[in-house]
Symmetry: C2
Subunit: 327 residues, 2 copies
């Protein structure tokens, strides 16, 4: 990859799915460009967009009906027999994903994270959650939730400094890259804030009481990623992502320490050090966007010093192609 | 208007231009739906979208060539003779706007603000600014810049309180509505921050030294407004808007005071009072969005207490249909 030169380049590297009208792609007359829409029972809104090459290889069960004509669709049937639709959906997803895992059809499907992601905005009878295996979320093109917390402090001289971890060189994804202080995927059954509380303990040894009392929710960034080699899975998937952002200002006595094997170490970096590391592409791609959003909100990157200011802020909040609320 | 019930309703009332693909509208086969694209010399990107009813009535000079076939365009010719293209553009805009004003073709064209707005992202030889009369910006559909600063304080008990002004009942636009603490349109020749500095003095009697030292740039909100009766001008215009947002935390000894005739008075309101006033539609429409963005960034509105959290944050940052940088 050629060296990136601007903050906008970094934001675009995260939000790297082509700026096309994704919900219209299944209607494109050109078959090769046409994604399949994923429909849940009794909901006219597509909840995901699936690559033709994934549809071709997925060992679909009778829970799903596939239409190959334009617009192309994958419809999850209502198999609930009047009971809990969500439970029926979840069982259907599990069955087909298990079958794909056993058949080893897709890269890395069973290898990582035995946890589920929630299908955002699913509208099911009874209000239950629709969820599927985290490692399969990209295959179905549903939106994925992450939570990122930036921990920072002010020196006695009033200088802003940021706690930046370096990922372990042993990690399967993004080894050795700089990361957000605390970050993780949000499990189906938890809120983004609950995710931050346990990740702050696991990744940075930050006490739960401190985190619960002083963490400030400060917004979200949204983007659509096209999965690439670094993700370790299938290529070219359409992955709508939501990162819930949190700030935690701490005193100089609070020092994050690695606890699990995901972090090599934490470094207290100045704003200039972080900026230089960003522009040298030392940060994990989406963590660069989180850091840039932090710099926007804290008045470090401003309209007076950044010609792409407007483009950066709007691009950090790309409208998602899938619904995020039930109604 | 029926009572609004949610924060998302308020954000949608600001970003109220239909969620259509505006840059594609000039290519729509349906003539009635088709806006005219505004092109500057030597720049293939449309800088504004003009209503057919405006094109019909505008007393176009020979500086402009109009194409009524699909895609419909208004092309500003390069009349610079090799000199400063921007100066030629500015003269051409002034000539046609003056003629429209004299002919009294449009509502309120000459009545208000003898100041110019900048055409964001205009790419002209010599790097000069392209600008036109603020009151005509909506007619040409160029993006408009505003700057809004929220001034707040913490009580001795640690409670967040916000300084909220009520607009004078004599104002032509939005009389008697609640407003952002300090706000104004950004003149062509100034930066958003410079706008805040002089508006803070004019509207709230806040000392320049205080404002320059402690004001924090915290981002922008973007939206596309369809002009309605409240704006006092033509109806149905497509107006892309950018509001640069600033926060100013002050001590309890700092008390904003009206200086010009635009503000009736300032009130130190609690978060709950502001929320109630928002939901009762007591705020000027776009100021409600600024306040909601403030609440997002300060952890008042969160994913845990607001079901529309994601939709609110993305909708506060609508991608604009016009370029905002020169290249």
């Amino acid at each position: 990859m050629s060296p990136l030169k601007t903050f906008l380049d970094l934001v675009k590297a995260t939000d790297n799915y082509p700026l096309v009208d994704i919900p219209r792609l299944p209607y494109a007359p050109d078959r090769s460009a046409s994604l399949y829409q994923l429909f849940l029972p009794n909901d006219p809104r597509p909840h995901g967009f699936i690559l033709p090459s994934v549809v071709d290889r997925m060992p679909w069960t009778s829970d799903f009906s596939i239409s190959h004509s334009i617009p192309r669709t994958v419809q999850l049937r209502d198999a609930s027999d009047g009971a809990d639709t969500a439970a029926a959906c979840n069982a259907a997803f599990k069955k087909v994903i298990d079958a794909a895992g056993e058949a080893q059809v897709f890269a890395n499907l069973q290898r990582v994270w035995p946890e589920d992601y929630k299908v955002l905005g699913a509208r099911c009878s009874g209000g239950s959650r629709v969820q599927l295996l985290r490692a399969a979320a990209g295959l179905f093109g549903i939106s994925c939730r992450g939570a990122h917390m930036t921990v920072y402090t002010y020196t006695a001289a009033g200088e802003l400094k940021i706690w930046v971890p370096r990922r372990s060189r042993e990690m399967m994804t993004w080894p050795g890259k700089l990361d957000t202080t605390v970050a993780g995927g949000v499990r189906a059954e938890e809120s983004p804030f609950e995710c931050i509380v346990h990740e702050a303990d696991e990744e940075a040894s930050l006490p739960g009481a401190l985190v619960r009392k002083h963490t400030k929710p400060v917004g979200v960034i949204t983007y659509v990623a096209e999965s690439a080699a670094g993700s370790g899975g299938e290529l070219g998937l359409c992955v709508p992502d939501v990162l819930y952002c949190y700030d935690l200002e701490v005193g100089q006595d609070v020092i994050p320490k690695p606890q699990d094997n995901e972090v090599e170490g934490f470094y207290l970096m100045s704003v200039d050090q972080v900026k230089e590391s960003l522009l040298r592409e030392e940060f994990k791609t989406n963590c660069a966007s989180v850091m840039i959003d932090f710099f926007i909100r804290h008045g470090v990157i401003t309209d007076d010093n950044e010609p792409d200011y407007l483009d950066i802020v709007t691009r950090l909040h790309r409208p998602l192609p899938v619904p995020t609320t039930p109604f």
